[in-house]
Symmetry: C2
Subunit: 136 residues, 2 copies
């Protein structure tokens, strides 16, 4: 995010601060069955209650969001989302209990990994040059 | 790797086992200053003693390897590799003490993160369907 805003503002001369990323993915062959993108989408479905609203919130096409969720659901023993057609919120989508468990588990894994590596990732960040504003 | 071999052998019907990936990156703006690719390359330079041999071992062009190492070195307070021109191994490259420290630190962070999350990543993997050989 900070990268984007620095680009958008055209201040290319200000070197942004280093950002640590820790990404967990489960691959099944060529498919990322579970990864940051699908988890963010699942979280957005939970928040917004529909695939289209979730897709919009992530600046993603409905088609892409639908395909990603379909891929996620097919990868799981029990699907993470279900369509909630009819009723008050017709055309919506809901996160299942299994989807809630997946979200919580994934986020816990991220948090655990970040917490245990905090000291060493701080060391890693200190190895990086911090040129600050620079004429290059 | 297992993905490639399964593709290469043309056995598309056998669904490979889910693989957990945990990737650590340090981004500085748009640049991945430190990440799995650069660390693998640094390890290969250390093993092979030259950029060209390291690049070959990773199926990468010399030019790409050189550019990645240059980017890595510029990102660091102290460079991870130096050219070792002249002498017995003229034209080679060596990993510096700082590069050794970076390799060790990065690999320790990976190992720590994997170790602490082992129980939860096992849970995550159990949420995935295991279709085994399938006609789809």
């Amino acid at each position: 995010m900070s990268e984007r805003s620095s680009r958008a503002s055209g201040r290319r001369r200000t070197v942004p601060a280093p950002q640590l990323q820790l990404r967990i993915r489960v691959r099944v062959g060529d498919v990322v069955a579970v990864g940051p993108g699908k988890i963010a989408l699942l979280g957005a479905v939970r928040e917004h209650g529909s695939i289209s609203a979730a897709a919009r919130s992530l600046d993603m096409s409905y088609r892409r969001a639908w395909l990603l969720l379909d891929e996620l659901n097919r990868s799981l023993v029990s699907p993470a989302t279900v369509a909630s057609q009819g009723g008050r919120r017709g055309g919506g989508a809901q996160v299942t209990a299994s989807g809630e468990a997946l979200l919580a588990l994934y986020r816990r894994i991220e948090a655990e990994a970040l917490a245990v590596t905090r000291r060493d990732t701080a060391r890693l960040l200190r190895m990086l040059a911090r040129p600050g504003p620079t004429p290059t």
